[in-house]
């Protein structure tokens, strides 16, 4: 079990890694959309109802890719901030220890300026860190609600696939399965990331 009080910057890096995987899956979803369009074209009139759905799959893939990339970027920035924060926290810890060891030093006051500067940098990083977590959390929620449409899209695809005749039915059902599968996987990554983010928010 990760001890967040010690390793929050590791948790942030884990979130970034999870979301990188989500981007890869979203790219596969885009491939599914192209595949769906080709099958629908071949099926001609029998898949007339399926064709508009391919546009929606395409749109879903596009939104998921751009949002995943954005989230991934945000997580990477957050990871950088948290690493800087660890460094600033470490410096403050060292300075506190110097105050303790050298409290009778004639020049101990000369450390005050250094301490104040590092403390204000630590505060700035803390605020940046909190703001970035909040933004990440919001973006994850936005993508999560977009992905709810994937379930509806998969259901509609299955209904339309059943109209397309036996020759194309399997291929179109496969498209529906892919949409549902990809969306499910991405949702799992997002859910995991949301849980991690909420733990970071509490910390």
């Amino acid at each position: 079990m990760t001890d967040l009080s010690q390793n929050y910057f590791v948790s942030v890096a884990e979130i970034a890694a999870k979301l990188d995987q989500a981007t890869t899956i979203a790219q596969k979803l885009s491939l599914t959309a192209s595949n769906a369009r080709a099958v629908a074209l071949r099926a001609g009139e029998r898949a007339a109802g399926f064709r508009p759905l391919t546009d929606f799959i395409d749109r879903l893939a596009e939104i998921t890719i751009s949002s995943s990339k954005k989230i991934n970027q945000m997580a990477a920035t957050l990871s950088q901030t948290s690493a800087e924060k660890v460094r600033a926290d470490g410096a403050i810890k060292h300075f506190n220890s110097v105050y303790k060891i050298a409290n009778e030093s004639p020049y101990i006051d000369s450390l005050d300026e250094v301490y104040e500067r590092c403390k204000s940098e630590q505060d700035r990083l803390e605020k940046t860190y909190r703001r970035q977590i909040e933004q990440l959390s919001e973006e994850l929620e936005t993508l999560s609600s977009e992905l709810r449409n994937a379930v509806i899209l998969a259901t509609l695809s299955r209904v339309e696939a059943s109209q397309a005749g036996s020759q194309y039915q399997d291929a179109l059902i496969n498209v529906a399965d892919n949409v549902e599968g990809a969306a499910g996987k991405i949702k799992n990554h997002i859910k995991y990331s949301q849980q991690m983010v909420s733990t970071l928010e509490e910390y």
Binding site: R87, A88, G90, A91, H94, F95, S97, V98, I101, A102, S105, P106, Y107, I108, D109, S110, L111, E113, V114, R117, C118, E121
Partner: protein, 245 residues
């Protein structure tokens, strides 16, 4: 961390920090040196992260923090300069003097504020309030980019790993019996110094300097005739060899 005054004159003072009996056991004991002039200080080989608090505490017993204006790293090793990221937070206006060869490596320790002054291969001189401190080339002794610091007025040579010996933290400050001490240095020099040619070239150049005290980064300080004894011993030692300790 103990502090010893090695030299004092109206223009400047040499201090040595080390023999830290509170350091974690697995960490090698190191000697740090500082030259204090009227308005500036040069802290040499300030040490690793683990030493930082003890080191800063020892230093500000001597000078205020804003007077530590210059740092020197003889080479890139972690026991020399891995504390850089913390000094960078403590002394954002300071300058670090270090071999040009190691600049892009040393920056990995974290350097956003401190200015890096790259020492060219042939060395150069730093003037602090009129006091000249010469960066003397000591390449391949042991690092491929490596310098000593020589103060012609104090006749002190800060020799980095040259003359180093691994000793307990309660070891005396100065070499007392050279032959006994040489036994502790032999393996270290044979293993860590890779080049006889570089070693002999260094010995030839250092013989021309007037050195009263030779101060290594580990172990004891050589004084007076022991400096000459060391140069003779080092000249005759075959280095860059394995399993001959």
């Amino acid at each position: 961390m103990k502090t010893h005054k090695l030299f004092e004159c109206p223009s400047h003072t040499w201090l040595m920090f080390g023999r830290d009996d509170e350091k974690p056991e697995a960490i090698i004991d190191t000697n740090q040196y500082m030259v204090v002039t009227k308005n500036n200080s040069l802290l040499m080989d300030p040490g690793g992260i683990e030493l930082f608090s003890a080191m800063l505490a020892a230093v500000i017993k001597q000078v205020p923090a804003n007077k530590i204006t210059h740092l020197f790293a003889s080479h890139q090793d972690p026991d020399i300069i891995s504390s850089l990221g913390l000094w960078d937070q403590a002394l954002p206006s300071a300058t670090l003097h270090s071999p040009w060869l190691w600049e892009s490596f040393i920056r990995h320790f974290g350097m956003n504020n401190i200015n890096y002054s790259a020492i060219p291969d042939e060395g150069n001189t730093l003037k602090l309030d009129g006091v000249s401190l010469e960066f003397i080339p000591a390449h391949y002794l042991h690092s491929s980019g490596n310098f000593n610091v020589y103060d012609p007025e104090a006749k002190i040579l800060m020799s980095g790993d040259i003359g180093a010996a691994m000793e307990p933290v309660d070891a005396p400050l100065f070499v007392e019996d050279f032959d006994e001490h040489a036994k502790k240095m032999r393996m270290f020099h044979q293993r860590w110094m890779p080049s006889n040619e570089a070693k002999n070239d260094w010995v030839r150049r250092v013989r021309k300097l007037d050195v009263e005290m030779m101060c290594p980064q580990h172990g004891r300080i050589f004084k007076g005739d022991d400096v000459k004894r060391f140069l003779d011993w080092f000249e005759n030692l075959e280095v860059g060899v394995l399993n001959k300790g």
